[in-house]
């Protein structure tokens, strides 16, 4: 069994990327593939992936290269770059959530993160076209890697 987690807030423009990736993956109804949407709450993430061997996480991230650019990280290979992360100490970003899990020996055996660079995270903003295209791409890649 593999788990796909889409993280984000669909009312905030490109932050909808994670949940929309999850929904595209769920549409495939692949046996052995569980799909959920979540906010970035460390304890909830650790509960969700507890016992799972293989986990894919999709989330939007801060703009670095260009909108729609896709990053793929193996959480066991290296820390997620801080530049991609949350801008508030009150919102624990995915990077910090993963490092907390690592410090608590609570990472799944395999954790792959797909981060899509967003352009507009304003409340009520529409999804930007490059991010919309990246969502389709990431969903395909997750389905291909999940086997």
């Amino acid at each position: 069994m593999s788990l796909v987690i889409g993280i984000g807030n669909e009312t905030r423009g490109d932050d909808a990327a994670g949940p929309l990736v999850a929904r595209r993956v769920a549409e495939a109804a692949r046996p052995g593939l569980r799909v959920i949407e979540a906010v970035c709450e460390p304890a909830a993430l650790m509960d969700a992936w507890a016992g799972e061997a293989r986990v894919f996480v999709a989330d939007a991230c801060a703009p670095l290269v260009q909108s729609g650019h896709i990053h793929r990280f193996d959480a066991h290979a290296a820390r997620l770059p801080e530049a991609l992360g949350a801008v508030s100490s009150h919102g624990i970003g995915l990077g910090m959530a993963i490092e907390l899990a690592r410090a608590l020996n609570a990472l799944p055996r395999e954790l792959i993160v797909f981060a899509i660079e967003g352009a507009d995270f304003a409340p009520g903003a529409a999804l930007s076209p490059p991010v919309a295209a990246a969502i389709e791409d990431v969903a395909r890649r997750i389905l291909a890697e999940a086997g």
Partner: protein
């Protein structure tokens, strides 16, 4: 002449952007400035013209960790203007919602932001490697607080269910009872967290604060009460601005505040605790004592324990409210606007949050004033810094800087809230 300067360009493990400047000359603290340079966000400027029912949703965007405080101060102020009072199960739901926010905010601050200071870690992640069980307990406590907020507020982040008059949807009794098992675990875990914070190494430091908080006839205050202090202040919210003024200082984009007759005052957990200790249930008082607290605490570093005590109280109160809950007939009462002024204060996790609105007969907001707790606490933060620095001049600059940052984090400052408004005067020559 020996001069030492400590400059922290960007404070870590606080919400928002702030900096610290200290100048020590010949062994005397000459200058302490908490620089807040987060861009002011002009909420008071764009609320006029909006409908009074929009105030809770607009003001709650000021802050991501205390949105409920803004919703509650806003809805109560508007209801006061309209001369209505929300009672019964809807009142209890509001209090339960606030319990969830206190838990979320305090637990995050205790474990992720402040405890690392006391244990000598740069971050909560470093601390988690050596103090795994305590951090895991904290993460689970926060998650349970989130579940209270999402169950009643509709969403964990920026909850959407509160409105003037009550709620858009009242949860069922079954939904609330579904939280009970986790709350029972959490109450016991919260007690352990109180005792754990009591074992932390605390710097010896005290200030003779003027504590200001709400005080209610019989409950530990959240949504209701008179505004009182330990130096004789005892007023309704409608009289607050007769006694307190906001001032602008050059080094901060957040307005500061002082009691006109006396100066700086302190809001937040230490103030609530000092002014309402006898409103805490006996077992919560006992946990506080077991963790080294008396009925009044003047050491700001021990605020971490006071926050843990308030978390324990919030879980106990949540259990009581859930057990007693009976579904209301309607999720909200009807509120008709009138030309009037409404003022109210509620106890945000960081301290008393004051709102004042003037509205018109058709419900249009004419004026708005918001005084967040971190704004009001700025003079006390700077006063604490002066005292802490003066008492620790023997430390080298790195250690003194760390102590200063720990001092600021005693207040769990929310700089995003503090910079909600600044009046802008432009002179063109």
């Amino acid at each position: 002449m020996v001069e030492r300067r400590i400059v922290v360009e960007a404070l870590a493990r606080v919400e928002g952007e702030g900096a610290l400047k200290v100048r020590i000359k010949d062994g005397a603290v000459e200058q302490v400035e908490l620089n807040i340079f987060e861009p002011p966000r002009f909420f008071e400027g764009f609320l006029p013209g909006r409908d009074f029912r929009e105030a809770p949703d607009i003001t709650s965007r000021i802050c991501g960790i205390c949105p409920i405080a803004y919703q509650m101060s806003a809805v109560h102020a508007m209801e006061a203007a309209c001369r209505v009072s929300v009672t019964g199960p809807l009142r209890d739901l509001r209090r339960l919602l606030y319990c969830g926010e206190w838990i979320e905010s305090h637990v995050l601050h205790i474990h992720m932001l402040h405890a690392p200071d006391f244990l000598g870690y740069e971050s909560a992640i470093d601390m988690a490697r050596d103090h795994g069980p305590a951090v895991q307990r904290g993460l689970r406590l926060k998650k349970i607080g989130n579940s209270i907020v999402s169950t009643i507020g509709g969403r964990e982040v920026h909850p959407i269910n509160a409105r003037v008059g009550g709620f858009y949807r009242a949860p069922s009794r079954r939904e609330l009872l579904g939280l009970r098992d986790e709350l029972l675990w959490a109450r016991d875990a919260a007690r352990e967290a109180v005792l754990w914070t009591g074992t932390l190494p605390f710097p010896e430091f005290e200030q003779d604060y003027e504590f200001v908080a709400l005080r209610h006839e019989h409950e530990y205050p959240m949504n209701e009460g008179r505004i009182v202090s330990n130096r004789g202040l005892d007023v309704a919210a409608s009289e607050f601005e007769d006694h307190v003024e906001e001032i602008h200082v050059a080094h901060s984009t957040a307005l500061q505040a002082r009691i006109k007759a006396r100066g700086a005052y302190l809001l937040g957990p230490l103030a609530r605790y000092a002014l309402n200790f006898n409103r805490l249930p006996a077992d919560v008082q006992e946990a506080a004592k077991a963790a080294g607290l008396g009925p009044v605490c003047r050491n700001p570093f021990r605020s971490i324990t006071v926050r843990a005590v308030e978390v324990l109280y919030a879980f106990e109160e949540a259990l009581r409210l859930i057990e007693a809950y009976r579904e209301p007939e309607e999720p909200a009462i009807v509120v008709e606007p009138r030309t009037a002024r409404g003022t109210w204060a509620t106890e945000a996790p960081r301290g008393m949050l004051y709102h004042r609105y003037d509205i018109d007969t058709d419900g249009t907001i004419k004026t708005a004033r918001i005084m967040p707790p971190t704004s009001q606490n700025q003079p006390s933060i700077e006063s604490d810094l002066k005292g802490v620095i003066a008492a620790n001049l023997d430390l080298d600059d790195a250690a003194l800087q760390a102590r200063c940052e720990q001092t600021i984090r005693n207040y769990d400052p929310c700089i995003s809230c503090a910079t909600h408004f600044l009046k802008l005067d432009i002179e063109r020559a």
